[in-house]
Symmetry: C2
Subunit: 412 residues, 2 copies
């Protein structure tokens, strides 16, 4: 069975925000065996909303709508829903009580007139509670199609999806079994990987589909299998993954959605090791990436962002003479930074980065995109020079990726 | 005039990646006065692509397509374009030469068979050079509608948009003048802001539209104006912004897209001050956010991520007795961290964060979501306790936002 997502709001069309809501909804629907056939982003305009709703209803069983439910004048979704369902708004007591509770408890003030209007919902709608906000989710049906409207604020929508939408969809619809499996690889480009996997790919059973997802120097593979026999599908996918392990096992970071920083965390915990960081050009992103993993405090001790050269000597303790001799952006300084971070934090491993992320050469000694990475280990220090492009954010992201791959390789 | 965007690839529908390409395309088209009427994300399937292309062509003048141009078997866009345009593929010499150059120069190996296929393009297509990859952009026309196909890899697509697509669109079409202006605010919730602005909003001229964009405790306002008389529009928008400044000036971070970290950077540079950071629960994200701004090395000296308690004493130099007395997550320790960072890095200002980002209480002394923020200044130290929810990533992001708002307030 299939669903479509309609996101309402000019901010997506004019590129002011990225539509992360659809991504969340697609993932969650996939987990319960509902396919998203299309995502349509449209403006806050009555006619456009009505057209998109009718078109989607002609194609699928479930239409999920986000956005346009705020209390302000630019939000027209609720009035348009009434028009589509030939319904009218009426005040919902439960929603009003919830809004008043939110105001009393968190905002410590009386409910504003504008927010009281949030309790007005189409009379046919089943209300889906919005734990974290004033705009409730709404479930409505017309000619066999379910329409679900949710606010566009991501964490409010997510909570309504998990607590209201998914359980209701699971009860209402019979669904096929769908299994998406991601295999995260590194170190091989997309076309080399495709050539190495050509025979294997040609021999995949017809109910398993393969996709290549390249991103910032890494390729994720996705196997999507579907059918009615869950056991048969799971076994077939497990068999294909075992074949993949034989073919490209050394280039696999993880099977599933675990990012490399989570795998690094698991390896560090398993071996009882700790990790620190000394960052220049990555400016704290290595530390942030590692510490974003839940439970990172078990192995991540800390880091120094030695952005200014003076902080490399005075805070991190790299010798000024070394910097003078080799330049602040050099393999020697990267190695020394890693060793000093290991020493300062008393850790077993330490990552270091220094280089020019761009976009200008500035007063640096190396070209934009040239970055030096080092990892201190219990046995010594490894290092690497990498060359990327001219985009600052991308250079930082790629340097973080590469440095994590170095630690991962050393820990494996 | 209007355009539509079609993104092709199951990875968006199943929520494996977020569609940031459409956001970029929408922004860039808006800048040259082309409106995006709809964004449609569909699967890698021939029929679905054909249907979406026909539907879009019936509505708008320009259809931009991304994705499905890779060398692997799951990519079917090029074959489908041939079907739509009743065309066939032929080898393009320039594209082939570019692919061979990429292989020789960067990959230092001969062009693979699979990548030679990337030089095959529909015979009617005008090729738009892909500086950074093997899949060229393609410009084709049918019955007065322009179709542009680009690879889905963001930085490849972005380069093709800037160097090939936008200049061609500007030459081919007459366009109205569109002016989008963002006003970034902080410290007032969406509905309070809407009430404060009600009279002003009611009196906006009909060609100026207002939208509220709330995100992580902040609200961005967007004014969208359009017409043929550029001067009249610019003056009208400037007048409305001047009124806004009078109404909510103290809550405005910036007019335009500059994020608060860029405004902080500008204020620091203007006053000749420097900034450092000492982070616990934010794990490096404060430092990363500040250093992500181009030219941050002029005022950002560095930071210490004192994640483990031991690193707060041994690396940052906070007194163990203070931590023991008040707890590692306390306003007193946050203040001390800020002062120690200022001292260590010899900076004028320093931000500090400590608290429990969650999702579990762990062995901490405070509830999940309780975070202490401090800013050391040339005159002393300010601090604040904030309480957020249970989501780790969101708590970190909100704490970073709040800490930046504190510095901004102190610098203004």
């Amino acid at each position: 069975m299939q669903a479509e997502i309609i996101t309402i709001g000019d901010e997506i069309l004019i590129g002011q925000i990225v539509d992360s809501n659809s991504s969340f909804i697609g993932r969650k629907l996939g987990e319960i065996g509902i396919d998203v056939a299309q995502i349509t982003s449209i403006s806050d305009q009555r006619e456009h909303i009505l057209t998109a709703m009718s078109a989607a209803a002609a194609r699928v069983d479930v239409v999920l709508i986000t956005g346009g439910l705020g209390p302000t004048k630019d939000d027209v979704t609720k009035a348009t829903l009434c028009e589509f369902f030939q319904d009218s708004l009426q005040e919902n007591e439960e929603v009003l009580a919830h809004i008043e509770m939110l105001f009393t408890t968190y905002l410590k003030k009386p409910t504003s007139e504008l927010n009281r209007l949030q309790a007005m919902v189409p009379s046919q709608a089943i209300v889906l509670k919005n734990e974290y906000g004033t705009a409730p989710g709404m479930w409505m049906e017309k000619d066999g199609t379910v329409f679900i409207a949710m606010p566009g604020v991501p964490f409010e929508m997510e909570n309504i999806m998990l607590s209201g939408v998914l359980p209701r969809l699971q009860t209402k619809f019979e669904r096929p079994f769908i299994l998406h499996t991601t295999i995260q690889t590194y170190g091989i480009g997309e076309s080399d990987l495709a050539m190495q996997l050509e025979d294997w790919e040609d021999n995949l059973p017809p109910f398993i589909k393969l996709a290549y997802l390249p991103q910032l120097g890494r390729v994720r593979l996705r196997l999507s299998a579907r059918g009615t026999d869950q056991k048969r599908i799971e076994e077939a996918v497990a068999k294909e993954i075992a074949s993949l392990q034989k073919l490209i096992g050394t280039s696999i970071v993880s099977i599933g959605e675990d990012p490399i920083e989570k795998r690094i965390g698991a390896l560090l915990k398993e071996k009882g090791y700790t990790l620190a960081a000394a960052e220049s050009c990555t400016g704290g992103k290595v530390a942030h990436t590692i510490s974003a993993v839940e439970g990172a405090s078990a192995y991540f001790v800390g880091g120094i962002v030695s952005y200014a050269t003076r902080s490399k000597t005075e805070v991190l303790g790299v010798e000024a003479s070394l910097i003078e001799r080799y330049s602040v952006t050099s393999i020697e300084v990267a190695e020394r930074m890693a060793l000093k971070a290991k020493e300062k934090f008393g850790s077993d491993y330490a990552i270091a980065t220094t280089g020019n992320a761009g976009p200008d050469k500035g007063d640096g000694d190396v070209e934009v995109g040239t970055i030096f990475l080092a990892v201190a280990t219990p046995d010594g220090v490894s290092s690497k020079e990498v060359r990327f492009g001219k985009n600052r954010a991308q250079n930082v992201a790629r340097a973080v990726n590469k440095s994590l791959e170095m630690v991962f390789n050393l820990l494996k």
